[in-house]
Amino acid sequence: MTDLTRLDASVLAGMLDAGETTSVDLTRAHLDRIAAVDGAVHAFLQVDHEGALAAARASDARRAAGDVASPLDGVPIAVKDVIATKGLTTTVGSKILEGWVPPYDATVAARLRAAGLPILGKTNMDEFAMGSSTEHSAYGPTHNPWDLDRIPGGSGGGSAAAVAAFEAPLAIGTDTGGSIRQPGAVTGTVGVKPTYGGVSRYGLVAMANSLDQAGPVTRSVLDAALLHEVIGGHDPLDSTSLIDPLPTLVAAARQGASGDLAGVRIGVVNELGGEGYQEGVEARFDDAVRLMTEAGADVVEVSCPSFVHALAAYYLIMPSEASSNLARFDAMRYGLRVIPEGIDNPSAEDVMRATRDAGFGEEVKRRIILGTYALSSGYYDAYYGQAQKVRTLIQRDFAAAFDQADVLVSPTAPTTAFRIGEKLDDPLAMYLNDIATIPANLAGVPGISVPSGLAEEDGLPAGVQVLAPALADDRLYRVGAALETLLQKTWGGPLLGRAPELETR
């Protein structure tokens, strides 16, 4: 019998259509897989057996009645714990929201439910999405299925690991500086950050509102397109959500799957490579570029000189917004409440202070302090103001580059997965993981990470990133799917087929 957990979502959807399986069987198979391997991987913070199976039964009933809600109706999914889910805890990886059950659904969650995707559970993440390794989760790290001693990337390491470990065929991630794409690269999965405003942020617990974007985490480009079409599109509850209709993404992925790139102009970004990039990562990237050239693409080099300032600008804008967003966690209305010891009749302020001290982790505190400082009167212009100017320059660099090329490409992350604990004491080294992914967030343009192969020196997966102009998300799928086809031909199958088998229990 076929192992249902090994199949792509598009294949599972076809089997459901053909009556070859049921949503209950699919959901049960994935719940069993989670039970078997998640003790080692720790991709999930909460698994919702009953809710998932109830949704699966409802899906099967719909299908029996000839009333299918979407092309993915019945295919189960994992959701990053940053997305508010009614009736399901949403902790954002933080002690300060331990046990918090939202009374409402994020628009993304509501759209998943409306489209009939059973939600398997909530995935682990760096606390408040602050990190590149999932080590900053207050509930312990997630382990990379390729090597359990290594990080799965972050902040959405849980979603990427769940998909890579075949615990879920699909997952939702969020990407503020690379939190979908970088985990995708280091776990050999596909991750998409849509155009800013392309997917509603309503119900996404904000880290940096002007940068955050939810998107698909999958094992194939086509699956990502299918999921993107389910969650994307205008939402009146999110003022920054785009009015423009989504481009046809699934069609673009199917077109790209032929592997033909004739006439497509591809720009290699000079600034996203070289020093700081691991040799094996660069080698796999060069292979990918060569394959695309052979497939008919016009490859040009483009220069984006302001990208060198992207990381610095990001680490001013993101903490500034975060410091304000996280102010609401004050023990007054929900979440953790710590009554300070040694104070008679503690005031509200005393309780706020004690709660925030106990409830936030080191990295969160670091960013709150950075952001509070950057927004302070007398420093605002020098820090936040300057960072916004850099942002404008980066947008101009992108505009100029997209005059020369239809899409831009680079390695997704400078290195493969590092060992758990290796960079925990060196925040700056940790921040450098996002050096190639951050420019897209600052400019609001979409990006996809597709597996590019294994680095020779460590045998671990690397990723190639494709970036497109705002609103042209279809180009990601066209080029991403072509690249996937070309690479899989050289590998003789999906990269994840080469991942070591996990011990099951």
Binding site: E321, T372, S376
Partner: protein, 498 residues
């Protein structure tokens, strides 16, 4: 609580100093829903029943700007002769306070929707120009209730917060310093707020109930040495929530500042609290440059960019400016300045206007609204507009008096009935049987009875002492339970005793 002991006499203070006024008025809009979510805005609902993830600031929730609040803000701006921004943003004002769900207030900072306006107020025949610096949009906070003996945050046993008010749309209207008002400063402040109230009522954008907090006023005041043309250090007095208090607070602060400055001291830039009961201000928290709200543009909202067509459409719908309207009405009605001031002060201008439109004379309309009905409103702690009686009812009551269907005393009983919800004036007259008895037979009999019962009085009248008729009239009215026309009773008595 420390109360500054010494005050300088108001007139003496103004011999030495020139006051500068600044007024910040917060207006709660009467939109059906809140500033950034769809929750209802009705006043007085059970605590925390008009809330949702957005106005509770739950993790993940997001704001969406209320279009009709933007429209109201623009109307206010236009009525105050402001420029309307072609493009403006909201900002976050960051500070921690339990009644703020997000621990930041979504407000406008350096990009207000309306700016650079002006209005004029008249005090004792002098016209003062008040320049408007800005009118900006923001959201209200929740309301804290400190439970315990003190009723204040310090010493409270515990505190409760009602978030029904959180997210109600507010417009903050800020003046530039108003200089050169001298001894008129308190009256100018009062006239400005009063006129603003009228303007907002006329625009229909707010209920402007000061007692419910839908119009809240902060008074800034500073003194500079007379003739210096400079600006002294200011204090900001909060919680000044009636027109009378605005006037008193300015007066008090002028005297207090003069005492401090005259004694060689200096004014502390601070927030002060106004105490309605004792008529004094006390020191609140010290306000200094250390207050750092870390403003930055709200990243969850897109800029507000009203089209010029929208602005011009709104401009075309603006009602007549209050000052112009008042001058016109005063002339039409033949009111004295004092009559006019009292009418405006009582918030009765519109009511009087409508009553006149319904057929009453100006004097009669004013008499009812500022007399009997103002007394009833006071008794029940209501605004005049909140009384369950319409201008048409009042005009009808007066018409019945004019027709001699009822007299003044009965008219008050008719109003009682209307206020008690017994129906229209005509229905009350019918159901309570209040019409004056015009049955000459019954009247005549009552007069005969009174004459028979009071022979000495009757004799006096027969002797020509007509003034004695009062006693007999009283007896007849008592017999008729007040339902008689006193004039006709007098005539009958004199006829019978001539």
């Amino acid at each position: 609580m420390s109360v500054t002991g010494t005050l300088v006499d108001f007139d003496a203070a103004l011999e030495q100093f020139d006051p500068a006024l600044g007024l910040e008025v917060h207006v709660e809009l009467n939109t059906a829903s809140k500033m950034f979510c769809g929750c209802p805005t009705e006043f007085g609902a059970e605590p925390n029943t008009q809330t949702c993830p957005t106005c509770l600031g739950l993790p993940g929730s997001m704001p969406v700007v209320n279009r009709s609040a933007v429209e109201s803000a623009m109307k206010i701006g236009l009525a105050l002769n402001c420029e309307i921004a072609e493009w403006c943003r909201f900002a976050r004002k960051n500070y921690f306070y339990p009644d703020m769900p997000k621990n930041f207030q979504t407000s406008q900072y350096d990009e207000p929707i309306a700016f650079d306006g002006w209005t004029e107020v008249d005090v004792d025949g002098t016209t003062y120009r008040v320049e408007i610096e800005r009118a900006h949009m923001e959201e209200d906070t929740g309301k804290s209730l400190h439970v315990g003996t003190s009723g204040r945050i310090h010493g409270a046993d515990y505190s409760l917060v009602d978030y029904n008010r959180a997210g109600i749309p507010l417009i903050e209207i800020v003046t530039r310093p108003v200089m050169g008002t001298g001894a008129h400063a308190p009256a100018v402040a009062r006239a400005y707020v009063g006129q603003l109230r009228e303007l907002l009522l006329g625009l229909g954008v707010s209920d402007v109930r000061m007692e419910q907090g839908s119009l809240r006023c902060d008074v800034n005041l500073s003194l500079a040495p007379r003739g210096s043309g400079g600006l002294g250090t200011r204090t900001e007095t909060k919680n000044v929530n009636s027109l009378r208090s605005v006037e008193r607070a300015v007066r008090y602060e002028i005297s207090r500042h003069a005492a401090v400055l005259g004694g060689g001291g200096s004014i502390l830039q601070e927030t002060r609290h106004w105490h309605e009961d004792t008529g004094v201000t006390t020191s609140g928290r010290e306000k200094s440059d250390a207050d750092d709200y870390r403003y930055f543009p709200e990243p969850d909202l897109v800029p507000v960019a009203p089209s010029r067509e929208w602005v011009e459409d709104l401009r075309a719908t603006l009602p007549e400016p209050p000052r112009v309207r008042r001058a016109r009405l005063q002339q039409d009605w033949g009111f004295s300045d004092l009559d006019m001031r009292d009418t405006i002060g009582a918030g009765a201008l519109g009511l009087v206007e409508e009553t006149i439109a319904a057929g009453a004379s100006p004097q009669a309309a004013r008499k009812w609204w500022l007399g009997e009905l103002a007394r009833r409103a006071n008794e029940t702690d209501n605004e005049l507009t909140a009384l369950p009686v319409t201008p048409a009812d009042v005009a009808r009551v007066q018409a019945m008096v004019d027709e001699k269907t009822i007299n003044d005393k009965l008219a008050r009983q008719v109003l009682d009935g209307v206020l008690a919800g017994e129906g229209t004036p005509d229905e009350v007259v019918a159901s309570r049987g209040l019409a004056v008895v015009s049955d000459e037979g019954a009247l005549s009999a009552a007069v005969d009875t009174a004459i028979a019962a009071n022979p000495e009085v009757a004799d006096k009248i027969r002797d020509g002492k007509v003034a004695a008729a009062g006693a007999l009239i009283g007896a007849v009215m008592k017999e008729m339970r007040g339902q008689a026309d006193a004039g006709r009773v007098r005539e009958l008595i004199l006829e019978k005793l001539s």
